[in-house]
């Protein structure tokens, strides 16, 4: 083997190696790096103005991003919106919503997978048993919905057509212009990137959302955005301080944790994409007009404090 053959052989052996990090994640993260730099510089400049050179040294070594002040809420929400826009087409959002409140009749968990293209699947578990499963597929103007009720052993399939290709709304709270002051809008279930961005932007523009500190969530430093509502219910969002992607949301009432939404932004691998496919009813299940209605009352009891998303 001569040098050229050897070189060709080594080069060709790497042909299958590809970078799988989407460009949007790189640019989104770089914006966070730039923002952290700007904040550090701003802190340094302020320190020069107020306390002289001695203070500068201390200010410049403050690790960024620091806990945001109240006036930074708009900035944080803007960064979150940008990060969500960037990640929307390249990631699958997995949300696990866990109900923990003292009034819930049973322990319930809702697992939701959403792609940026409107496809999605929702599985609802009560006491560890799957009770319902919903799936939505969008092909052009056709929207196919499949619902399966494991309690009733029934399933249904419905196809509707929109006049223009569109993505069905996955969140009741993101569907319309959100009026300020409604507790439902603060705690409504938002299961896709656009819905989350719309919800946060709307609440911030209403002056209801406040960036009020940082916290560590699963080992990650997160900025907390909090919205207290009239009846003692507080919705708190936690966004990764480096990527500005939401990682957690909690709903509490007078200090009692009612529910937790844990968000994961999954790469579009074959395995993860498979979670977006329409569910298939097990053999022996009867096809009915609307399989979800029979189990809805059971499930709604568990999720009573949270406005449910549309089917899919």
């Amino acid at each position: 083997m001569n040098d050229q053959e050897l070189i060709t052989s080594v080069r060709q052996s790497f042909d299958k190696v590809h970078m799988s990090v989407p460009e949007e994640l790189i640019t989104s993260r770089s914006r966070a790096v730039q923002a952290a730099r700007r904040r550090r510089v701003a802190v340094g400049v302020a320190a020069i103005a107020t306390s002289g050179a001695a203070a500068v040294t201390a200010a410049l070594i403050i690790p960024g991003p620091a806990a945001p002040a109240t006036e930074d809420t708009a900035y944080v929400v803007s960064q979150v919106t940008q990060a969500l826009t960037a990640v929307r087409a390249n990631a699958i959002l997995f949300t696990q919503m866990t109900i923990t409140g003292p009034d819930s009749v049973t322990d319930a968990v809702m697992d939701m997978w959403r792609g940026g293209d409107g496809q999605g699947r929702t599985e609802i578990f009560v006491s560890g048993q799957m009770v319902s499963e919903y799936g939505v597929a969008v092909t052009g103007t056709a929207i196919t919905r499949v619902s399966i009720s494991y309690r009733d052993k029934t399933w249904s399939r419905a196809v509707s057509h929109s006049s223009t290709p569109s993505v069905p709304s996955a969140s009741a709270s993101a569907q319309d212009t959100i009026p300020c002051g409604s507790a439902d809008d603060a705690i409504g279930i938002s299961v896709n990137a656009k819905a989350i961005a719309d919800q946060l932007r709307s609440r911030e523009s209403c002056g209801l959302l406040k960036a009020d500190g940082t916290a560590t969530v699963g080992g990650v430093t997160a900025i907390r955005l909090t919205e207290p509502t009239n009846d003692g219910v507080t919705a708190s969002w936690y966004v990764n301080s480096a990527t500005y992607l939401p990682i957690r949301r909690t709903v509490t009432q007078r200090g009692v944790l009612l529910s937790t939404d844990a968000f994961q932004w999954l790469p579009r691998t074959a395995a993860n994409l498979a979670r977006l496919s329409l569910p298939v009813a097990p053999r022996g299940f009867a096809q009915v007009a609307n399989a979800a209605s029979a189990t809805a009352s059971l499930v709604l009891g568990a999720f009573a404090h949270r406005p449910l998303p549309g089917r899919g």
């Binding site: 040098d3 050897l6 299958k16 190696v17 799988s20 990090v21 640019t27 770089s30 790096v33």
Partner: protein, 172 residues
């Protein structure tokens, strides 16, 4: 600003695979390499105005990724006894996470090269830098690059020859 973003996007699309492959040659572990290269691209994007003026931005990314990887490696192995450091530093996690992607014989042969030779192979063969650019990126003299390259090719040829012969024998 938008032009800067577009330039970076084009650069990222055209050079990300080569940068990853180059760093993978040195690091030997796909996940670590991708993590380091992603971090290097983030830094390149954040300082794109300066990086875009670099004579070879891909070499800048590869060099930065290797530095990122070394920093991470140091943090992870701070508790490793000093006597083990030299041995560990020269031994990438051979083939870990890349078995399905790369010929294991080639990956093993690369892993057996000393770190500096792997760096030269990465920049010269994978990133296709010339001797002068490789020397500049690694902070060594061009003659040293040529010497490392010659030794690395000789070692690879010998390793692959032995591996293929023993494979043929086992098939008989």
């Amino acid at each position: 600003m938008e032009n800067q973003r577009l330039d970076f996007a084009e650069f990222y699309r055209s050079s990300r695979d080569d940068c990853l492959r180059a760093v993978l040659v040195v690091v030997g572990d796909y996940d670590s390499a991708q993590e380091a290269v992603a971090e290097a691209f983030v830094r390149a994007c954040a300082s794109w105005r300066a990086v875009s003026r670099h004579p070879n931005p891909a070499a800048w990314v590869a060099r930065t990724a290797l530095n990122v990887n070394v920093s991470r490696w140091r943090r992870r192995h701070r508790e490793v006894p000093a006597s083990d450091l030299a041995a560990l530093a020269d031994t990438p996690a051979a083939g870990s996470g890349v078995q399905d992607l790369i010929d294991p014989q080639i990956m093993s042969a690369l892993a057996r090269l000393p770190a500096r030779q792997r760096q030269v192979i990465a920049l010269r063969l994978i990133l296709d830098l010339d001797t002068r650019a490789t020397a500049k990126a690694l902070g060594i003299r061009p003659n040293t690059v040529m010497a490392h390259m010659a030794r690395a090719l000789a070692a690879l040829r010998s390793d692959l020859h032995i591996a293929r012969e023993s494979q043929q024998e086992s098939q008989r």
